[in-house]
Symmetry: C2
Subunit: 134 residues, 2 copies
Protein backbone atom coordinates (compact mmCIF):
# COMPACT_ATOMS: atom_id res chain seq x y z
CA UNK A 1 0.00 0.00 0.00
CA UNK A 2 2.48 2.64 1.08
CA UNK A 3 5.53 0.47 0.37
CA UNK A 4 5.09 0.73 -3.39
CA UNK A 5 4.69 4.48 -3.22
CA UNK A 6 7.87 4.96 -1.22
CA UNK A 7 9.86 2.72 -3.51
CA UNK A 8 9.15 5.22 -6.25
CA UNK A 9 10.29 8.12 -4.11
CA UNK A 10 6.72 9.16 -3.37
CA UNK A 11 5.29 9.87 0.06
CA UNK A 12 2.11 8.68 1.69
CA UNK A 13 0.19 11.74 2.76
CA UNK A 14 -3.10 12.17 4.55
CA UNK A 15 -4.66 13.35 1.28
CA UNK A 16 -3.66 10.23 -0.58
CA UNK A 17 -4.85 7.94 2.20
CA UNK A 18 -8.16 9.76 2.39
CA UNK A 19 -8.70 9.56 -1.35
CA UNK A 20 -8.04 5.83 -1.39
CA UNK A 21 -10.34 5.33 1.59
CA UNK A 22 -13.18 7.25 -0.06
CA UNK A 23 -12.88 5.10 -3.16
CA UNK A 24 -12.73 1.89 -1.17
CA UNK A 25 -15.82 2.82 0.82
CA UNK A 26 -17.91 4.28 -1.98
CA UNK A 27 -17.50 1.29 -4.32
CA UNK A 28 -18.38 3.69 -7.10
CA UNK A 29 -16.59 5.28 -10.03
CA UNK A 30 -16.16 8.96 -9.09
CA UNK A 31 -14.57 11.62 -11.25
CA UNK A 32 -12.15 14.30 -10.09
CA UNK A 33 -14.89 16.81 -9.28
CA UNK A 34 -16.82 14.30 -7.15
CA UNK A 35 -13.69 13.31 -5.24
CA UNK A 36 -12.96 17.00 -4.73
CA UNK A 37 -16.34 17.53 -3.09
CA UNK A 38 -15.89 14.52 -0.81
CA UNK A 39 -12.35 15.43 0.22
CA UNK A 40 -13.33 19.00 1.03
CA UNK A 41 -15.30 17.65 3.99
CA UNK A 42 -12.04 16.50 5.58
CA UNK A 43 -9.68 19.04 4.03
CA UNK A 44 -11.60 22.28 3.44
CA UNK A 45 -8.63 23.97 1.79
CA UNK A 46 -7.74 21.18 -0.62
CA UNK A 47 -7.29 22.18 -4.23
CA UNK A 48 -8.73 20.51 -7.31
CA UNK A 49 -5.24 20.39 -8.78
CA UNK A 50 -4.19 18.24 -5.84
CA UNK A 51 -6.92 15.75 -6.71
CA UNK A 52 -5.56 15.40 -10.22
CA UNK A 53 -1.97 15.11 -9.04
CA UNK A 54 -2.94 12.51 -6.44
CA UNK A 55 -4.91 10.50 -8.99
CA UNK A 56 -1.95 10.55 -11.36
CA UNK A 57 0.41 9.24 -8.68
CA UNK A 58 -1.98 6.53 -7.55
CA UNK A 59 -2.64 5.55 -11.16
CA UNK A 60 1.08 5.23 -11.94
CA UNK A 61 1.40 3.25 -8.73
CA UNK A 62 -1.30 0.85 -9.91
CA UNK A 63 -3.76 1.66 -7.13
CA UNK A 64 -6.50 3.20 -9.24
CA UNK A 65 -7.77 2.56 -12.75
CA UNK A 66 -8.78 5.45 -14.97
CA UNK A 67 -11.93 5.06 -17.03
CA UNK A 68 -11.18 7.17 -20.08
CA UNK A 69 -14.47 8.83 -20.81
CA UNK A 70 -15.06 11.65 -23.23
CA UNK A 71 -13.82 14.77 -21.43
CA UNK A 72 -14.72 13.38 -18.01
CA UNK A 73 -12.50 10.63 -16.64
CA UNK A 74 -13.82 8.50 -13.80
CA UNK A 75 -11.74 6.34 -11.49
CA UNK A 76 -11.95 2.89 -9.92
CA UNK A 77 -9.99 2.31 -6.72
CA UNK A 78 -11.50 -1.08 -6.00
CA UNK A 79 -10.49 -2.87 -9.20
CA UNK A 80 -7.31 -1.04 -10.23
CA UNK A 81 -6.85 -3.01 -13.45
CA UNK A 82 -8.53 -2.92 -16.89
CA UNK A 83 -12.06 -4.29 -16.87
CA UNK A 84 -15.24 -3.54 -18.84
CA UNK A 85 -17.67 -0.84 -17.78
CA UNK A 86 -21.35 -0.46 -18.57
CA UNK A 87 -22.40 3.18 -18.75
CA UNK A 88 -26.07 4.09 -18.59
CA UNK A 89 -27.11 6.83 -20.99
CA UNK A 90 -30.14 7.68 -18.80
CA UNK A 91 -28.86 7.87 -15.21
CA UNK A 92 -25.12 8.02 -15.89
CA UNK A 93 -24.39 5.09 -13.63
CA UNK A 94 -21.17 3.18 -14.29
CA UNK A 95 -21.40 -0.55 -13.63
CA UNK A 96 -18.50 -2.96 -13.36
CA UNK A 97 -18.74 -5.49 -16.15
CA UNK A 98 -16.19 -8.00 -15.05
CA UNK A 99 -16.85 -11.70 -14.63
CA UNK A 100 -17.44 -11.67 -18.36
CA UNK A 101 -16.21 -14.76 -20.14
CA UNK A 102 -14.40 -14.49 -23.48
CA UNK A 103 -12.48 -11.43 -22.31
CA UNK A 104 -9.24 -13.33 -22.03
CA UNK A 105 -10.10 -15.07 -25.28
CA UNK A 106 -10.46 -11.75 -27.10
CA UNK A 107 -7.14 -10.52 -25.77
CA UNK A 108 -5.54 -13.75 -26.87
CA UNK A 109 -7.09 -13.49 -30.31
CA UNK A 110 -5.95 -9.91 -30.87
CA UNK A 111 -2.48 -10.78 -29.69
CA UNK A 112 -2.28 -13.61 -32.22
CA UNK A 113 -4.23 -12.28 -35.20
CA UNK A 114 -2.64 -8.83 -35.24
CA UNK A 115 0.59 -9.63 -33.41
CA UNK A 116 -0.30 -6.78 -31.07
CA UNK A 117 1.12 -6.68 -27.54
CA UNK A 118 -1.71 -5.44 -25.33
CA UNK A 119 -0.64 -3.27 -22.39
CA UNK A 120 -3.97 -1.76 -21.40
CA UNK A 121 -7.59 -1.64 -22.46
CA UNK A 122 -10.69 0.51 -22.22
CA UNK A 123 -13.86 -1.48 -22.79
CA UNK A 124 -16.91 0.75 -22.56
CA UNK A 125 -20.49 -0.29 -23.30
CA UNK A 126 -23.07 2.46 -23.50
CA UNK A 127 -26.77 1.76 -23.17
CA UNK A 128 -29.63 1.52 -20.67
CA UNK A 129 -29.17 -0.08 -17.28
CA UNK A 130 -31.59 -2.41 -15.54
CA UNK A 131 -33.11 0.26 -13.31
CA UNK A 132 -33.78 2.67 -16.18
CA UNK A 133 -35.68 0.13 -18.28
CA UNK A 134 -38.91 0.34 -16.28
Amino acid sequence: MLTKLQDRGSRMTSHRLALLRIMAVSEGHPNAAQLYEKLREQFPTISLATIYKTLLVLKEDGQVFEIDMHNDSHYDGNKPYPHPHLICNKCGDIIDGDDVSFLDAIGQEIQEKYNFQIAQSQLLFYGVCQNCQS
Copy 2:
Protein backbone atom coordinates in the same frame (compact mmCIF):
# COMPACT_ATOMS: atom_id res chain seq x y z
CA MET B 1 -25.64 8.32 -49.07
CA LEU B 2 -27.29 11.69 -49.56
CA THR B 3 -30.80 10.32 -49.23
CA LYS B 4 -30.43 9.73 -45.51
CA LEU B 5 -29.04 13.20 -44.97
CA GLN B 6 -31.89 14.85 -46.79
CA ASP B 7 -34.48 12.84 -44.93
CA ARG B 8 -33.23 14.50 -41.76
CA GLY B 9 -33.47 17.97 -43.28
CA SER B 10 -29.72 18.13 -43.88
CA ARG B 11 -28.02 19.03 -47.12
CA MET B 12 -25.24 17.33 -49.02
CA THR B 13 -22.55 19.93 -49.53
CA SER B 14 -19.20 19.83 -51.26
CA HIS B 15 -17.49 19.92 -47.86
CA ARG B 16 -19.33 16.88 -46.61
CA LEU B 17 -18.70 14.93 -49.78
CA ALA B 18 -15.02 15.83 -49.68
CA LEU B 19 -14.69 14.79 -46.04
CA LEU B 20 -16.34 11.44 -46.71
CA ARG B 21 -14.14 10.90 -49.76
CA ILE B 22 -10.94 11.65 -47.84
CA MET B 23 -11.93 9.11 -45.22
CA ALA B 24 -12.85 6.50 -47.78
CA VAL B 25 -9.57 6.91 -49.64
CA SER B 26 -7.26 7.20 -46.64
CA GLU B 27 -8.57 4.06 -44.94
CA GLY B 28 -7.16 5.56 -41.74
CA HIS B 29 -8.58 7.02 -38.54
CA PRO B 30 -7.94 10.77 -38.73
CA ASN B 31 -8.83 13.29 -36.07
CA ALA B 32 -10.40 16.69 -36.62
CA ALA B 33 -7.06 18.48 -37.00
CA GLN B 34 -5.82 16.01 -39.61
CA LEU B 35 -9.02 16.28 -41.61
CA TYR B 36 -8.72 20.04 -41.37
CA GLU B 37 -5.26 19.96 -42.97
CA LYS B 38 -6.44 17.67 -45.76
CA LEU B 39 -9.56 19.66 -46.53
CA ARG B 40 -7.66 22.93 -46.65
CA GLU B 41 -6.00 21.70 -49.84
CA GLN B 42 -9.37 21.76 -51.58
CA PHE B 43 -11.04 24.50 -49.54
CA PRO B 44 -8.36 26.94 -48.37
CA THR B 45 -10.84 29.01 -46.37
CA ILE B 46 -12.51 26.15 -44.52
CA SER B 47 -12.80 26.55 -40.76
CA LEU B 48 -11.95 24.00 -38.09
CA ALA B 49 -15.40 24.54 -36.61
CA THR B 50 -16.87 23.37 -39.90
CA ILE B 51 -14.94 20.12 -39.57
CA TYR B 52 -16.47 19.49 -36.17
CA LYS B 53 -19.96 20.43 -37.34
CA THR B 54 -19.63 18.18 -40.38
CA LEU B 55 -18.36 15.27 -38.31
CA LEU B 56 -21.29 15.66 -35.93
CA VAL B 57 -23.81 15.58 -38.76
CA LEU B 58 -22.19 12.57 -40.43
CA LYS B 59 -21.96 10.80 -37.08
CA GLU B 60 -25.63 11.34 -36.33
CA ASP B 61 -26.38 10.17 -39.85
CA GLY B 62 -24.46 6.96 -39.21
CA GLN B 63 -21.79 7.57 -41.83
CA VAL B 64 -18.80 7.91 -39.50
CA PHE B 65 -17.88 6.28 -36.20
CA GLU B 66 -16.19 8.32 -33.49
CA ILE B 67 -13.32 6.70 -31.62
CA ASP B 68 -13.58 8.30 -28.20
CA MET B 69 -9.99 8.83 -27.23
CA HIS B 70 -8.72 10.86 -24.33
CA ASN B 71 -9.00 14.50 -25.47
CA ASP B 72 -8.44 13.61 -29.12
CA SER B 73 -11.28 11.87 -30.93
CA HIS B 74 -10.49 10.06 -34.16
CA TYR B 75 -13.01 9.03 -36.80
CA ASP B 76 -13.67 6.02 -39.01
CA GLY B 77 -15.60 6.60 -42.23
CA ASN B 78 -15.05 3.14 -43.62
CA LYS B 79 -16.60 1.13 -40.83
CA PRO B 80 -19.20 3.50 -39.38
CA TYR B 81 -20.26 1.15 -36.60
CA PRO B 82 -18.76 0.13 -33.22
CA HIS B 83 -15.72 -2.13 -33.60
CA PRO B 84 -12.51 -2.65 -31.60
CA HIS B 85 -9.42 -0.55 -32.17
CA LEU B 86 -5.79 -1.34 -31.43
CA ILE B 87 -3.81 1.78 -30.57
CA CYS B 88 -0.02 1.67 -30.66
CA ASN B 89 1.67 3.52 -27.79
CA LYS B 90 4.85 3.93 -29.85
CA CYS B 91 3.78 5.16 -33.30
CA GLY B 92 0.21 6.17 -32.49
CA ASP B 93 -1.24 4.05 -35.27
CA ILE B 94 -4.87 2.98 -34.92
CA ILE B 95 -5.63 -0.47 -36.30
CA ASP B 96 -9.05 -1.92 -36.96
CA GLY B 97 -9.60 -4.90 -34.71
CA ASP B 98 -12.72 -6.38 -36.22
CA ASP B 99 -13.09 -9.95 -37.37
CA VAL B 100 -12.61 -10.81 -33.70
CA SER B 101 -14.67 -13.72 -32.53
CA PHE B 102 -16.46 -13.63 -29.18
CA LEU B 103 -17.46 -10.00 -29.68
CA ASP B 104 -21.09 -10.89 -30.22
CA ALA B 105 -20.79 -13.38 -27.38
CA ILE B 106 -19.60 -10.69 -24.98
CA GLY B 107 -22.42 -8.38 -25.97
CA GLN B 108 -24.86 -11.21 -25.44
CA GLU B 109 -23.37 -12.05 -22.06
CA ILE B 110 -23.52 -8.47 -20.80
CA GLN B 111 -27.08 -8.14 -22.00
CA GLU B 112 -28.09 -11.24 -20.07
CA LYS B 113 -25.93 -11.08 -16.96
CA TYR B 114 -26.51 -7.40 -16.19
CA ASN B 115 -29.79 -6.94 -18.05
CA PHE B 116 -28.12 -4.02 -19.83
CA GLN B 117 -29.35 -2.87 -23.24
CA ILE B 118 -26.24 -2.05 -25.25
CA ALA B 119 -26.61 0.84 -27.67
CA GLN B 120 -22.97 1.57 -28.45
CA SER B 121 -19.48 0.51 -27.48
CA GLN B 122 -15.89 1.75 -27.39
CA LEU B 123 -13.40 -1.10 -27.30
CA LEU B 124 -9.85 0.22 -27.18
CA PHE B 125 -6.72 -1.88 -26.74
CA TYR B 126 -3.48 0.01 -26.08
CA GLY B 127 -0.09 -1.59 -26.63
CA VAL B 128 2.66 -2.11 -29.20
CA CYS B 129 1.86 -2.83 -32.83
CA GLN B 130 3.60 -5.34 -35.05
CA ASN B 131 5.87 -2.81 -36.77
CA CYS B 132 7.07 -1.29 -33.50
CA GLN B 133 8.15 -4.61 -31.99
CA SER B 134 11.37 -4.88 -34.02
